[in-house]
């Protein structure tokens, strides 16, 4: 129940219609947003392996000039990082529910 919010967010992001072909500027901004979110997730020590690989894929596509794919991958990485941040914050209290007492 609690986690449906980030999944919905993930879906919303991927459905957003790409108005026109992405260019380097779009890639740079999407990538830095994803990188910031990923750094925060890492600082909370809740980073996901899939975030790291999506970020790497974005960089690889970006370096290769395929900005469409790079922006999509960066957006996915950002969404994943945000979901792991949400998980870290909600788990600060939620873990107690499972504790054996």
């Amino acid at each position: 129940m609690k986690l449906s919010l980030p999944l919905a967010m993930l879906l919303a992001l991927s459905l957003a219609p790409a108005a026109r072909a992405a260019n380097e500027a779009d890639y740079k901004s999407a990538y830095s947003a994803a990188e910031a979110a990923s750094k925060e997730a890492a600082s909370l020590r809740h980073q996901w392996t899939v975030t790291v690989s999506a970020l790497a894929a974005a960089k690889k596509a970006g370096d290769g000039g395929d900005f469409n794919r790079a922006v999509a991958a960066a957006k996915e990485a950002e969404a994943l990082a945000k979901a792991s941040i949400f998980q870290a914050i909600s788990e600060k209290e939620a873990w107690k529910a499972m504790e054996i007492r």
Partner: protein, 287 residues
């Protein structure tokens, strides 16, 4: 449509009830009480698996499934960790370049002491695991540290575990707020969900021990570290507790911490303490 809304209503009220319950307990549970935690932890498993003999829990999946137990016993006739054990025994006795040996770093010459690790080091204010103590001993004697995850470190800990086989786990928590905090931090790590799979250690080892996870049977959390280090057929080699934590993390798609991160040391402290009284069964053989 009607059914869906009733489900929604049902889950909302359940959440409310759960919230009320936890908040009441949260207030009561602020005081960290390892003794009560250990008792509750052990009783949970003793009641959930009444037919399993208490000391059998340390055999992990093999205490949960007959077919697996038979395969294990067949392997134990001539166990695959035999080579690591001999290598560890030889290494343990080989003096460092400065002539000292591991025996000089450990109480009782390092023999039959594995059940007291990890311990809380009051000078350092942190939990110290057996692997950490071994590497510190090496560095103190001018030797390069070993990898915390496998090979030499696993052979050394295999031999030290072997010398403690059968002795009950005996972890102490000194009356020091930092030790209690480390215990609590380990407990929190154990119950915290992580990775894209959104699993915590408890999701598998408390909620569904004895169930299948593809080819393997999930081990109960009680006594799960008593068999460390383990020879896993999947790794076709030995692995220490840290290797198990690191690989478990990456399986749930959580980025692993470094092998001797504080969280890993604390969760090892927590899991070992709640298994006090259960025998050391390392080195172990696992799927």
């Amino acid at each position: 449509m009607k059914a869906r809304s009733s489900i929604l209503l049902g889950s909302l009220s359940a959440a409310l009830v759960a919230f009320a319950l936890t908040s009441a307990r949260v207030v009561a549970a602020d005081k960290i009480d390892p003794v009560a935690d250990a008792k509750a932890f052990q009783n949970f498993f003793f009641q959930k698996f009444p037919t399993v003999k208490h000391e059998d829990f340390v055999n992990g999946p093999y205490s949960m499934n007959e077919d697996m137990k038979r395969q294990w016993q067949e392997k134990e006739e001539f166990p695959p960790y035999e080579f690591a054990l001999d290598a560890g025994k030889e290494m343990f006795a080989t003096p460092f370049k400065n002539g000292k040996t591991y025996a000089d770093c450990f109480p009782n010459g390092g023999i039959g002491i594995r059940q007291n690790y990890p311990y809380f080091d009051e000078k350092e204010g942190k939990v110290v695991t057996l692997e950490l103590a071994l590497n510190r001993c090496r560095e103190a004697n001018g030797e390069a540290p070993y990898s915390y995850v496998k090979d030499e470190m696993a052979s050394l800990t295999a031999y030290m575990a072997f010398t403690s086989r059968g002795k009950p786990m005996d972890i102490k928590i000194p009356d020091d707020p930092r030790a209690l905090a480390a215990f609590e931090n380990g407990k929190r790590y154990f119950y915290t969900r992580r990775g894209q799979m959104n699993f915590s250690c408890a999701s598998c080892h408390v909620q569904s021990p004895g169930e299948r996870i593809r080819a393997e049977i999930l081990a109960p959390a009680l006594g799960i570290l008593n068999a460390m280090p383990i020879y896993r057929s999947e790794w076709s080699g030995m692995g220490t507790t840290s290797r198990r934590f690191v690989t478990c993390n990456s399986q749930t798609r959580a980025v692993p911490l470094d092998p001797q991160a504080d969280e890993y040391r604390d969760v090892e402290y927590f899991l070992s303490y709640v298994a006090n009284g259960l025998p050391i069964s390392g080195p172990g053989a696992r799927p």
